[in-house]
Every structure is written in structure tokens, then in C-alpha cells.
């Protein structure tokens, strides 16, 4: 009796990209590494929710209590040439619930690999307009079970994405940025060969809905370009999938939608060349088949030249 009575849920593992705080050298920002520069980063994220949307119904669940998802994400970005960077990440995730009887899980989630290129880099007056294109792939890095909502580490599917990042930054360091992506998802494999969504399926494969994600950021560089402060709004929308039924468990192919607000800080230490810290937070405002999560992140980055 799988998940008898433990109701449902949702999951908040949108793959690496959306968990990334808004900081340097990520697939969602407008920063580029110069040729031969490498940046290593390690970021910890603490994400909790105690309410979630079961379809469109917002509820809590005594058999989950508070769901905590902790992520440690090592990441590396490399400037192949000035206009082309590559980024790789491999998050480790741990989930647990304060209520109920079901055990949390931990392990490697999804590897991710991105190529980021500069399409436009145009001086406009004292400011600068840039457009970056980012192509990425990600996929499960361990044999975690995607069919284990809300504890599942990820969706368990291959994902390809294409993203555009448009930014304008003034000469005084104020910037605005918009980005949008399309996420193409392959099938996820679960450990039972019949499941019911809005109808039965006789297979252990799950057709994962594709999704779009988007975001807008406004911020400023301060202290002689060593401190960045920004505010963000972003979201995700599954282009398919189905609603969690009343008191049912969540499923990988649920129709997940959310919008989120947040902010971030990034600081480069003036006395250690290349060393920086990042911090960010995000809070889900509206959602469907997702938890109303509050995520807080912190991490360090270190940049140096290798050729």
C-alpha cells in the first residue's frame, strides 16, 4: 500500500538551474569568465516548506510536517574562450520530513553541464547590453527513485535546456536582466510497471512534462565592483502533467507551476584575489503541485587562471 495515507506532495527539485542562487558564472546570469579562467564554487542550500499545493488547493500535511531539503552543490565554470564558457555541477541532496513515518533520502542528484556563449556584447552609451545563450543537459547521477514524493532527490530524467539571458548594465553598475528557458525532458523510470495519473499506464516509464522557466533580476554593483546586490523574481511552468488528486501522493509528472521572489548578494574579498562569497534567498509566492518553499543559500567561489 504505497504511501497509504501519507499524502501528498510535491517536489522542489527543479534541477540544478533553478536551485542556483543568482551569482556569478551560472547558467542564468550574464557573467562570463575570460579565457583560461576557472571558477570553483560550493553552495549550500537549505530549503523548507510546510505547506504545499495539492493541485490548486493549498494545504499542510501532518504526515509530512515540515519538509527539509538540503543541497550541497559543487560547481565549476571555465572560460574556454572569452565568449564561450562551460559550466558543470553535481549537487548532493538530502531530504527529510519532520512528521510521518517515511524515511528521507540522500545522495547525488543530477549532473548538469552547460555551454554558455556571448551572442551580443554591445556598448550603449556608458552602459552595456549583453545577450547570452546557454545550452544545457542534466541527468540523474545516482539511482535515486523519482517516484518518492516529496522526498525524491530529483525527477530522474534527462533534461535538455536552451536559455537566453538579456542584460543591460549602466556605467554606474546598475543592471537589469531577464532570462527565459525551455526545458525538454525525457522519460523518467520508476520501479513499478503500472501507475495511474488521469488514466492507467502499463509501463515503468513516465513521460515527463517539458517546462519553461523565466526570471527577472535588478541589482547594482557597489564598493568598487566588489559587492553585488540584487532582487529577483522567477518562475517555472510545466507544459503538461497532471494535478495531484485529493490526498494522493505527488508524482514526477505532476503539473508544477510556481512563482518566487528572492534576492542575492555576492562579495569579492579585496585582500584575497579571486575569492568570493555568495548568499541568496527565495520564497515561493504562488504554486501548483509544489511546496511553498523558503530556500536560503550560502557559498564560496574561487576564481583563478589556469592558462
Amino acid at each position: 500500500m504505497k504511501r497509504m495515507s501519507i499524502t501528498s506532495i510535491l517536489l522542489m527539485a527543479f534541477g540544478v538551474m533553478l536551485l542556483l542562487p543568482s551569482k556569478a558564472q551560472t547558467p542564468t546570469d550574464a557573467l562570463m569568465m575570460e579565457t583560461g579562467q576557472i571558477c570553483l564554487a560550493a553552495i549550500y542550500t537549505h530549503d523548507t516548506w510546510d505547506e504545499y499545493w495539492e493541485g490548486t488547493l493549498k494545504r499542510n500535511n501532518g504526515n509530512i510536517g515540515t519538509l527539509t531539503r538540503q543541497t550541497v552543490m559543487p560547481m565549476v565554470a571555465l572560460g574556454v574562450i572569452d565568449r564561450v564558457n562551460v559550466i558543470a555541477a553535481l549537487p548532493w541532496v538530502k531530504t527529510q520530513a519532520s512528521g510521518g513515518q517515511m524515511t528521507g533520502v540522500q545522495g547525488l542528484q543530477d549532473w548538469g553541464f552547460w555551454i554558455k556563449g556571448t551572442a551580443v556584447d554591445q556598448e550603449i552609451g556608458s552602459g552595456k547590453l549583453t545577450l547570452h545563450a546557454v545550452a544545457g543537459v542534466s541527468g540523474p547521477a545516482s539511482n535515486y527513485l523519482p517516484d518518492y514524493a516529496p522526498f525524491n532527490l530529483g525527477f530522474g530524467c534527462l533534461e535538455g535546456s536552451l536559455r537566453g539571458v538579456l542584460q543591460y548594465q549602466t556605467g554606474s553598475g546598475i543592471f537589469v536582466r531577464g532570462q527565459g528557458a525551455f526545458h525538454l525532458r525525457g522519460n523518467s523510470t520508476i520501479e513499478r510497471d503500472y501507475y495511474y495519473t488521469t488514466q492507467g499506464f502499463y509501463t515503468d516509464e513516465v513521460d515527463m512534462p517539458d517546462a519553461i522557466s523565466y526570471g527577472a533580476v535588478a541589482g547594482i554593483w557597489l564598493l568598487n565592483n566588489s559587492l553585488k546586490v540584487e532582487a529577483m523574481f522567477d518562475g517555472l511552468k510545466s507544459l503538461g502533467g497532471f494535478d495531484i488528486r485529493r490526498q494522493d501522493a505527488g508524482f514526477p509528472s505532476n503539473k508544477m507551476i510556481f512563482t518566487r521572489v528572492g534576492g542575492g548578494l555576492q562579495y569579492y574579498f579585496p585582500f584575497v584575489k579571486g575569492l568570493g562569497v555568495v548568499a541568496s534567498g527565495g520564497y515561493v509566492l504562488t504554486g501548483r503541485n509544489v511546496g511553498q518553499s523558503l530556500a536560503l543559500s550560502g557559498g564560496i567561489t574561487y576564481q583563478f587562471g589556469i592558462w
Binding site: M1, K2, Q101, D147, L158, L162, N187, Y195, V206, R246
Partner: protein, 513 residues
Amino acid sequence: MKKLYLSIFASALALFIFQSCEKDLPQRLDYEAYEFATLDEDGGTWNPVLLNSPGQIGIPAPEATTSPAYQAELAAVKAASGQITGDQEAAVRYWSSNALIRWNEIARELAAKYNLTPAPNADGTYPAPNAMNPGQYPLFPFAHPPYTCRMLAYWSGAQYDALMAAWYYKYQFNRPAPYAADASITTHLPENGLPSYPSEGATIAAVSQVILSAMFPLEKDFLAAKATEHKNSLIWAGMNVQSDIVAGDSLGRAVAAVFINRAKTDGMANAQTPRPISDSLRAAAQTRWGWHWENLETPQRPVGITPFFGRVRPWCIPNVEAVRPVPPPAPGSAEFQVAVAELQEIADNLTTDQRKIANFWADGLGTYTPPGHWNRFAADLIVKYKENPLRSARTFAYMNMAIMDAGISCWDAKYYYHYPRPAQVIPGFKTILGIPNFPSYTSGHSTFSAAAATVLGHIFPAEKARADAWAEEAALSRIYAGIHYRFDSEVGTTQGRAVGNYAVEVAKVDGGE
């Protein structure tokens, strides 16, 4: 810059290819129409489940094949099957040569659709489904394993009796099939050599419609549409004339009514007891055994699933006492501690294989439950051995009667012994599946599965080892999940086999061996 555009284009192309590799996922079991291995011409002489005899319910004698009425029907079939449309052909392929497979699939699907437990009210109480008002949340029914096993037992028992009656009249009247009466009629299914009056397909459709509509009242319209399409497909396929269908339909309805009457008085109406009775069962267990089971959900569900399912009238076992297992080891005893140590060891070192087995057999909320899982196996075997509809109904009937008896017997033990789940007595113990809302001893999965495997092993001797291995794995799966102690599963397996043997003994003398 050019290189960049090129790489973006290449990525887009890669994504496109990646996308187009995704195939449509199967929404039903696919099987080819087949010729029946046997026709069981003597099927009309077998012993029915509830009918006094296969000929108990009368149907009118068919019009002679020479009559104008029959000739007109024949012409209509010839026209319909000769001008079949694409949609009609798809319907014929869907219902195929043995529509019991499809109707069983529909029954399983409805079980999965309705297998959702009520959500708590804001004040922490729980609402309950109401058969008198099925459309009000929580929808009726909550198709949990006892509900589902009973639904399948009535569905398949009624099919068996109805098809036995159909066979009785087929070989009494010996009306040739349309394609035998007129060789120029195009058929779209294998010609099976069965006399066609009454239509076995229409009998199956009628029984399915009546039984499943009673079990899933909100699906009445859906089921009526399915039955209509099924019956029409028999004309499109060139398999029956209209009067074959009318006779099969009325026979099916009459037999189904006999089973519905039994269902009304089998005790299921009282199985979901009110709280005072549930509390008294717990108190009695505490007094008798010194322990009791409690629901561990938040908010706590005050009553477990169907405490009185053990009092529902069985099919083949004489009574629950005949198959009631010995008491479980007392919590804290040495035997109990061994079982607990095993659960903790498994939880701490769960392997991927163990996790897969636990999930494969989970059959929990939102699924067709373990009884449904075994029906799927039975359907596969029925197709593999090319059973005709009567023989298929026999396979389904004995298996599902055994499964329901197993459920009755298991639920008797569950509420008689009222044994706590591992998570109730092992501090901090966590599971990888949700804990069902009923006591631990004995394991329902184990009991259902052993009973089903015993019947399938009898009917398909070449599959016995495989069926027993499935049952064994289903029993183990609950230990891996942390839902059951080993003794729950092992004793449940023994209990299920004993129950299954009662059904086998009935099958041995029903004339259909």
C-alpha cells in the same frame, strides 16, 4: 560568432531529436486476437458458483436461420462488417477475441482511480465515503484492497456463471455464427467455431456493466458507453447478429442480478464499523493479548480500514476459524526481537534490489491493489494459454474468490490479533512506503498473493513455480518496505495457501478441470 550560432543550432537539433525519441507510453495491455485453445463444448454442464444450474435462467429460443427476421439481421451484419470504418476497426481490435481481458483491465483501472483515502477535515476529523451519496467528497467507493478484491470476485464469479449459462444455450440451440451462416460475411476477429446464440461477448459486457456500475456508481455512464461499444463491435466484427446480442445481454443482466443480490447481504455494508465498535475491538485485543494496533497518521485515523471485513461471507472457505493463524509472538519476546532486528538491519542497509521489490509490489494508494496486480498476471496467462471466455472466467473466478477469501481471512486475523505495526513499537523506525491503515498480522499482500498463486498454479501447472515465486517476492516486499515483520509475511503466505486450496478443491469438482 558563427560558431556560436552553429552550436546553438546543433543543441536545438539535439533537443529535437531527443524529443522525437520519446514514444507513446502504453495505456493498456496490448494483445493480439487469438484462436481459442479449446471450446469447452460441455461448459453448459459445469457447476456454477451461485446459479442452481447453468440453465436456471431461461432465454427465448432463437429464430430459425431460415426466418426472414434472421436473414435481415444477417444482412445487417454483412453490411456493417463489410463497410467497417477505421474507428470501428479500432474498437474491434480493442475488445478483441476475449473481452474479459479488457473488462478486467477496466475494473482494475477503476480500482486505481478510486483507491484514495479520505483527506482530514480542518478540525482533524475524517469524513467517510457514503454509498448513498457517492459523488460527495470523499467519493464512493474508497477502493482499498478489501473493496477491490470483493469487486473482482463478484465481477468474475458472475462472468463465470453467466458464461456457463451462455454455453448451455449455445450448445442447446446451436445457432451458427454469422460467418458460418453466410460464408461471404467478412470477419475481423478469428472465427472461433462457437454457436453464436446467445452472444458470449454481450453476456460479458452486460455482466461487467451491471457489476461494475454497482461497485463504482459514479462510472455508470462511462460503463454504459463501454458496454454499448463492445456490443456494437461484435456486429462490426461479423461475430454476432443482433438477436445473439440481445439474448446474451439479457442473460448477463439476469445472472449479474443474482450476484448483486448476494453482495447486498454479504456483510460488506457493516465492514467499515463505527468508532465505538472499532474501539471495542482494540480494547478486546488489549485484554486478550496485552497489545493493540494504533493508526500512526497525523491526525490519527480513528478507525482502520474495514474492521469487520473478516465477517463478510466467503466463497470457498467454510469459515474464518478454519484458516485462522496461530497468535503472533508477543512484542518483546525473543522471536519478536529477532524480527525487529531484521527490519532494522534491512532499513539501515537497504539494497537497490530490495527497494525495487518493495516498490514493484507496493500496490498502494492510487493503484489497483495486490488483488488487481494478480488479475493482471492472470490476464497475461489467459492470453498466453489462449483460453476461451468461459475458461478465462473460470480462471478469474477461482482466483478472485480465493483472493477475496484470503482478504476475509487475513482481515479476521488483523482485527482479532490487532497486532501493532513495526513503526508503532520500534522507536524512530521509518519506512519507505506508507503504512496501511490496519493492523499488522498477517500481511495482506502475502495472504492475497499466496491464495492467488495457489489457484493459478493449479490452473496453469507449468506456471506454478513462477506464480509461487511471485507470491514469495510479494511477501518479502513488505519486509523490505518496513511495513511488516517476517512472521506477518510468512504466516500470511501459509494462510493464503490454505485459503487458496479450498478454492482449488471446489474447482476440482466443478466439471471444468
